[in-house]
């Protein structure tokens, strides 16, 4: 929640790279996937899981085989064991490298029948004129071409002026420009460490990214200041 009286000034993006200082050209990074593995001929669904919360959701399970990685941007590419799906996890990367990461993923994105990107953002960044009283909000962004995968829940479209940025945004943009279907689910969440978002877990189960997980009840007592 925004603190009352706090002014959220729209900040300029010029601070990201200093166009006034030519020396920044010396810090170029060329990204590569670690293994020279050929992309498969066809993928049913390419799933992008962006952010630490989603990475933590899948890392404890063993339903995926690691195919490739790019450690500079914490990218890992997996294949699901039970379906012809690929999963890409990415977290804590420099936003300026987003489009370059999308270029790395293009061989996989281009041959996928469908692409689904899921990302998390802090709830304070969710801009609506009504007060948000929920612990989390999930919204979707879909390309003009409809996704062949039917998601069990019809997620509400992301309202303006909200936007997404980064790898997920780049992948969906690329699919839109190439007239292919894709959908992004953006999950605005307040306390990621305390929540199990059932809709996301159901989705990951459906695509065999994780096995069936029983819903766990959050214990407020353990997170309180009563016991240290």
């Amino acid at each position: 929640m925004t603190t009352f009286g706090e002014i959220n000034e729209p900040s300029s993006r010029t601070a990201w790279e200093d166009w006034d200082d030519v020396l920044c050209s010396e810090n170029y990074v060329d990204l590569h996937l670690e293994k020279t593995v050929e992309a498969p001929k066809q993928i049913d669904t390419f799933i992008i899981l962006e952010g630490r919360y989603l990475y933590d959701c899948i890392r404890a399970h063993h339903e995926l085989d690691l195919v490739n990685a790019c450690s500079e941007v914490n990218l890992r590419l997996y294949r699901t064991r039970k379906m012809n799906n690929y999963v890409c996890t990415i977290r804590d990367y420099n936003l300026i490298l987003s489009s370059e990461i999308v270029e790395l993923l293009k061989p996989y994105i281009n041959i996928s029948t469908d692409v689904i990107a899921i990302l998390t953002k802090p709830l304070v960044e969710y801009q609506v004129s009504e007060l948000v009283t929920k612990d989390y909000v999930i919204r979707s962004l879909s390309t003009s071409k409809q996704s062949p995968n039917t998601l069990d829940i019809n997620f509400t479209h992301l309202e303006q002026p909200n936007i997404i940025t980064g790898v997920s945004a780049g992948v969906i943009c690329w699919r839109e420009i190439t007239d292919k279907p894709a959908v992004a689910l953006v999950c605005y969440i307040e306390h990621p460490e305390e929540l199990q978002i059932q809709e996301l877990f159901n989705f990951l189960e459906k695509f065999k990214v994780i096995p069936h997980v029983e819903k766990t009840q959050h214990n407020n007592l353990l997170n309180s200041n009563l016991y240290i």
Binding site: M1, T14, W16, Y28, H157, Q160, C173, E176, I177
Partner: protein, 246 residues
């Protein structure tokens, strides 16, 4: 990595004789906000979108139409046939590494489309304004620009250049784009305002007013009443305060 920029035109348009406006991502985003105002007020039509590794990706639904299910990305082309105007709107900064190639392709593409001229809208750090009593606007124009003679008749302040190349501090890629237009012999005008970060909506209004002097877009008697805020400007300073505090 090979840099391939993809242009997807949504409609066939003859752009010869058009004025192309490109806002630079700069301090306070003044140029972008001014373009947002023009697109929204003239109800300009989206005619193309661009995907390039030079662009930091952003995605949302149409920022000019509430409830729209059309996606909007970080670089789109808008057209107003009545005013013979196109705007290449960039909603995210360029990646420096790929910037020069992208901008060169932009200039070459529109030169090939026979556009009349290019206008770059940008801003510079407010502390760079040495003569505090002078106008907060500056311009740079090359000799090919059709606006050169109009500008001479106006009481506008020209950019003071200390070297041969134009340097607009805080102006993002504006200086580089201007140099490319010069190299490619494309008529070009750069209009910029000294600004600071904060609420830059008033700067955008003033920018549109200045622009209207050289490129008539609105009835000059009362421009401000003709300008329409885009939907994307809603909630620029956050949502409502939490109810629990009362």
């Amino acid at each position: 990595m090979a840099q391939i920029n993809h242009w997807k035109m949504l409609t066939d348009c003859d752009l010869s004789g058009y004025t192309l406006i490109i806002p630079s991502v700069a301090v306070g985003n003044v140029g972008q906000l001014a373009c947002d105002l023009v697109i929204s007020s003239l109800r300009m039509r989206k005619i193309g979108l661009v995907y390039s590794p030079a662009l930091i990706p952003i995605l949302g639904y149409d920022p000019y139409k509430i409830g729209s299910t059309n996606l909007s990305g970080c670089c789109e082309l808008y057209e107003c046939a009545e005013r013979k105007l196109i705007i290449l709107l960039l909603r995210a900064p360029l990646v420096y590494k790929y910037g020069q190639k992208f901008l060169t392709e932009v200039v070459e593409k529109f030169k090939g489309e026979n556009v009349k001229d290019i206008i770059i809208l940008t801003s510079s750090f407010a502390h760079e304004r040495k003569h505090i009593m002078s106008s907060p606007f500056r311009y740079v124009v090359n000799e090919l620009s059709p606006h050169t003679s109009t500008l001479r008749t106006l009481d506008w302040v020209e950019h003071e250049s200390k070297s041969e190349t134009v340097k607009i501090l805080g102006g993002g890629f504006a200086s580089l784009l201007y140099e490319i237009t010069k190299e490619k012999s494309v008529p070009c005008l750069v209009l910029y305002k000294f600004a600071s970060e904060g609420d830059n909506i008033p700067d955008a209004y003033e920018m549109v007013q200045y622009l209207n002097t050289v490129v008539p877009l609105f009835d000059s008697s009362d421009i401000y009443s003709q300008l329409v805020h885009p939907v994307s400007w809603k909630l620029m300073f956050g949502g409502p305060p939490p109810r629990d505090i009362y």
